[in-house]
């Protein structure tokens, strides 16, 4: 965390830090850490440590990293700078009367010094000397240029040497070229030449005594992440559900009681003027429906209403030709897992029709529905259906499109288009398309329509009442919102909890 990591390594001693700061006070425009090292006569690495300590104090200094190449003596080079070159040492070891060669060779610098001194013509070898070969000086004095050059480098004056000379010394492994990382140091915004001890955190004692006023505090590392709060998380699909619920409530829609997953065929199909045997229905496949074996049948139906439904299916009526088939109560009784929440809308509209006087209603629901169909990356056997219903006198297709426009505007979708479609219980039926800016095309976002008179009139709703409705799934907009491609990563037990932990809040219009 930010409070944890303050400075690196060990704090350099205060004396050195203050010397550095005093030095910095005197120069205008800053100084290089290498120069500081030279001025204070300490190793550059020590100064680097001091700079890091000062950085940790906040804005005392400001620094900029630099890198430069420079020449440095090797171990052997330093020895030569101190004691002279091997050849000079050999020369100086030889007295006027000369030295036996084998004795000379035993000197530490003997071998190298001998050959160099020979080639410099400082010495000569008398091989025929009695008592063995003997070395003699040939000149009175010598100038040890190698040592001089190395001493120049040691003093940081390598620039005085020619490139050829440096290359020669490098070849003799006396010099090496190194890259040095250094700092360009300037005064910081809170520059001071004195160092105060830094506090890690504010304490109750400091607050009580007021000592915090004199203290300096270690700066925080704001690059680090904070500590995750210990909390629970709402599921993303449920967050989106909350938003859709909110939108309906904002629009004055009342929530329908959809807590009945088991439904009879009667309410799920027949009451909607869907042909009772889904097998006979052009848009449905029997295999789309989960039927119930226990409890297999529903027993209670509003009898008058059931008779009217039977009539409109088998013979027509209410201005309709009907479907002209043999309607059977045995089929209507079959229990199933509801295939849409419209079954609940039908129950609610029937209930509305039983009121003494019709009052306009706006209903909504968001709940699970079940389809026994082929599963893939975007289809599960159960999903959430969002449904809106408005019932009033004289509602038009234009009204339906107007309400849809308002609804989708709240989802952040303003470009809508409508396409004719077929839905067995609405007429007209419209598919709702919105323009997807990312995909650059129109995508289907929902289905809508006006409930058929064959559905409404048998319920007992007044002739002039129209009911407009629309529906969409909750999963699809959620997958788009949270960028999820496989529905199993969102719904069901295979969910990735990390995704749940990390999912942002849901605002559908932004």
């Amino acid at each position: 965390g930010a409070a944890g990591a303050t400075g690196f390594g060990s704090m350099a001693d205060t004396g050195l830090l203050e010397s550095l700061l005093r030095l910095l006070e005197k120069v205008d425009g800053g100084t290089d850490s290498q120069d500081v090292a030279a001025d204070l006569g300490v190793d550059h690495q020590v100064i680097v440590g001091a700079v890091k300590s000062l950085q940790a104090l906040g804005e005392v200094i400001s620094t900029e990293q630099k890198s430069s190449k420079h020449w440095e003596l090797t171990g052997e080079g330093r020895e030569i700078a101190e004691q002279g070159s091997h050849e000079a040492r050999v020369f100086n070891a030889i007295p006027d009367e000369g030295l036996p060669q084998n004795g000379l060779m035993k000197m530490p610098s003997g071998k190298v010094g001998f050959s160099k001194a020979m080639s410099n013509k400082w010495i000569r070898l008398d091989k025929a000397h009695e008592g063995g070969p003997r070395v003699f000086k040939t000149v009175e004095t010598i100038e040890d240029t190698v040592r001089d050059k190395l001493q120049l480098v040691q003093k940081g004056q390598s620039a005085k040497l020619e490139d050829k000379e440096k290359t020669e010394l490098k070849k003799r492994k006396l010099l090496s070229e190194v890259t040095v990382k250094s700092y360009w140091i300037t005064k910081g915004s809170s520059f001071s030449t004195t160092i105060t001890k830094q506090e890690t955190e504010l304490t109750p004692e400091m607050i009580a005594s007021g000592s915090w006023k004199e203290k300096k505090f270690k700066p925080y590392n704001f690059e680090a992440m904070g500590v995750a709060p210990d909390c629970g998380h709402l599921h993303p699909l449920m967050k989106v559900r909350t938003q859709f619920r909110q939108i309906f409530l904002e629009m004055g829609f009342t929530e329908m009681p959809t807590n009945n997953f088991i439904e009879s065929s009667f309410w799920n199909f027949d009451s909607l003027f869907l042909q009772i045997n889904p097998q006979q229905h052009p848009a449905r496949d029997q295999h789309d429906t989960f039927f119930i074996s226990d409890p297999a049948l529903a027993h209670e139906f509003p009898q008058d209403y059931l008779e009217r439904v039977k009539q409109v299916h088998s013979e027509g009526g209410y201005g309709s030709q009907g479907y002209k088939y043999d309607w059977k109560i045995e089929e209507a009784q079959k229990n199933l897992l509801r295939t849409h929440t419209t079954a609940v809308s039908a129950r609610m509209l029937y209930k509305l029709a039983q009121q003494e006087k019709f009052t306009p209603v706006k209903y909504f629901s968001i709940d699970r529905v079940f389809r026994n169909e082929t599963l893939d990356a975007t289809h599960l056997a159960e999903f959430h259906q969002i449904e809106g219903v408005v019932a009033d006198y004289g509602l038009t297709l234009g009204n339906l499109m107007g309400v849809l426009h308002q609804f989708f505007t709240k989802l952040g979708i303003t470009k809508l288009r409508f396409k004719p479609a077929y839905n067995p219980y609405t007429e007209p039926s419209m598919e709702v398309f919105s323009y997807h800016e990312g995909l650059k095309k129109w995508v289907e976002v929902g289905n809508s329509g006006v409930f058929r008179p064959e559905m409404l009139l048998p319920m007992g709703l007044p002739e002039g009442v129209s009911v407009i409705a629309w529906g969409l799934s909750l999963e699809r907009p959620t997958m788009i919102k949270y960028g999820i491609n496989n529905i199993r990563e969102l719904v069901g037990h295979k969910v990735n909890l990390q995704m749940v932990y990390d999912s942002p809040i849901c605002r559908l219009d932004s």
Partner: protein, 562 residues
């Protein structure tokens, strides 16, 4: 929604015009997707599932031409045989009643096929079979070269052993029983065998000389098969649904009578048993205007409808419009269907969008309001929300929880495709345990909850079952953490404003429940009523759920707190 593939060039040729992009009227009636095939461009056109008249090129072109007012909607007519002879007859015997009781038939005379027309004819039958005919269960179509057979024809049903004929494109005769086993491996026909396979009598159609025309709904006879050269076609539709049989037959004859005698005359179609019924509906312009939300004159509405192949005229009385429904439009069964066609022709997107003046006050369902509020505070208590399936296997709610399936009061599904859809869950615990198992790699502890519905059998309800809203939470860690789950109960009760206490408050009391570890389970009582359990899960429950750590759980009903 069925998709019709048409060759682009054929479509343009029939339309007499080339179009660069989408045709507006097709777009109104369906969705057009162009697809680049090797060298033939195919248009795949989505057609609404009730518009059988748009399932072939002929119907599509006719609809478009009429819509664009380049053609008047044809009037289909049933005629008598040109030679003045008796109409053909198809006699239906009583034996068919038990297996496939209905049949209708028609004859198309003097038809001229080309390769394309012939293919379209075959394709239309296939499309009808797949859609309105519900994969031949409701209706099966047979087409025959009338010049190879002679009426009257007999539609009867016989034991499979008594039926023997040479089926389409086969070189020898088979009995019906042999045919069933022969076609078991046929990739196409095997899907239709089940319709009659186990019936004692099989449907069969003979001509006057005992020649087998077809054994519906499986296969036609080879003898009467049609070809490019066929001039007179006998069409029979056998069915379990008479209305749909009539619609199907009407569709075929109206679509292909176009190629009889002289093209585009439609006079030579000759039908028997069916009506080719036209029907007239009268409605007012005001009705259409008020339902759609437009303001058009009766004349212009009549014109819109006429363009949709619904020949209409203003009757003269007020703004009444007389609309003629052709046999091709079996989908029009009510004035609202006519209203929709007017709206489609007007263009949905041309209708002005307006806000209804309906005034209502919103109400939340109390149960959902409570659920929403509790969910928020459960996350504040450090638990993460899971969302699990309502359907599961019997094993999930019984064996895995050490319960007997009979005691669960579970609702059973009769036609599950796999075991994961055998029952509706009776508690939320299995879903949470599976969620834990799928997330074993996550850092411990895992704290999950779900507030959702389970379903229990309930004799007092009309359907014999009811939903129950429950709260379930699990704590999964290296130690069972009963105190954590217990603390969650205390917190939930605090949120519900129920104080600890024996009578008006809540308390827990040691209980035995096979899902929980003995001595580590308590029953929750609120106001003296049992509302659920909490405790440490039985080690067998843990291992059967493919988990390895101890786990404590709470499961309670929240409906008493409404």
């Amino acid at each position: 929604m069925p998709t019709v593939s048409v060759k682009r060039d054929l479509l343009f040729e029939a339309l007499g015009q080339k179009y660069s992009k989408c045709l507006t009227c097709i777009r109104e009636q369906g969705d057009e997707k162009a697809e680049g095939a090797s060298d033939v461009v195919l248009y795949k056109i989505d057609v609404p599932a009730n518009r059988y008249d748009l399932l072939c090129l002929e119907g599509l072109v006719r609809g478009l031409q009429v819509f664009k007012e380049k053609l008047e909607a044809p009037r289909y007519k049933r005629v008598s045989p040109a030679d003045g002879g008796e109409p053909q007859r198809l006699v239906i015997t009583e034996e068919t009643a038990s297996v496939r009781p209905h049949a209708v038939a028609a004859v198309l005379r003097n038809i001229t096929f080309t390769q394309e027309r012939y293919e379209s004819f075959i394709e239309l039958q296939e499309k009808l079979h797949q859609n309105i005919c519900r994969k031949r269960t409701l209706v099966a179509i047979g087409t025959h070269d009338l010049d190879t057979i002679s009426g009257p024809f007999t539609y009867t049903a016989k034991p499979p052993g008594d039926i023997r004929f040479k089926p389409l494109n086969q070189s020898k005769e088979y009995t019906a029983a042999e045919l069933i086993s022969h076609y078991k491996t046929d990739s196409h026909l095997r899907h239709y065998l089940h319709i009659i396979e186990n019936e004692p009598l099989y449907p069969i159609i003979y001509d006057n000389n005992g020649i087998v025309l077809s054994m519906p709904p499986v296969i036609n006879g080879d003898h009467s098969k049609i070809s490019l050269k066929t001039k007179n076609i006998f069409i029979e539709c056998t069915a379990t649904d008479q209305t749909k049989a009539k619609i199907t037959l009407d569709m075929i004859v109206t679509m292909f009578s176009e190629y009889c005698d002289e093209p585009f005359t439609w006079v030579s179609s000759y039908t028997l048993c069916i009506e080719l019924a036209y029907r007239t509906e009268t409605l007012s312009g005001d009705f259409i205007n008020k339902r759609v939300g437009i303001n058009e004159s009766a004349e212009s509405i009549a014109q819109l409808l006429t363009r949709m192949c619904l020949r209409s005229e203003v009757s003269g009385e007020g703004d009444l419009i007389q609309v003629e429904i052709p046999p091709t439009r079996a989908d029009v069964i009510h004035a609202c269907d006519i209203m929709e066609d007017a709206a489609i022709a007007y263009g949905f997107n041309n209708i002005i969008r307006s806000t209804p003046r309906t005034y209502t006050v919103a109400n939340q369902l109390p149960l959902n309001k409570l659920t929403e509020l509790l969910r928020q505070d459960l996350t504040a208590a450090g638990f993460t929300e899971a969302l699990t399936f309502a359907l599961c296997s019997q094993e999930d709610i019984a064996d895995k929880l050490r319960k007997n399936i009979v005691e669960t009061r579970a609702v059973h599904i009769s036609n599950p495709k796999t075991a994961e859809f055998q029952v509706v869950r009776t508690c939320l615990l299995p879903g949470l345990l599976k969620t834990l198992a799928a997330n074993r790699k996550m850092p411990l502890p895992l704290k999950l909850f779900e507030i959702s519905d389970v379903v229990l059998k309930d004799e007092t309800k009309d359907v014999g079952a009811r939903n129950n809203r429950r709260l379930c939470a699990v704590y999964y860690n290296k130690s069972p953490g009963f105190e954590v789950i217990h603390g969650l109960l205390d917190r939930v009760m605090q949120l519900l404003d129920v104080k600890p206490g024996r009578n008006q408050g809540y308390h827990i009391q040691a209980a035995e429940d096979s899902t929980f570890f003995p001595g580590r389970c308590a029953e929750i009582f609120s106001c003296g009523k049992s509302i659920g359990h909490l405790g440490v899960l039985h080690p067998d429950v843990i291992s059967r759920s493919e988990l390895t750590m101890p786990c404590s759980a709470i499961d309670m009903d929240i409906e008493p707190f409404l």
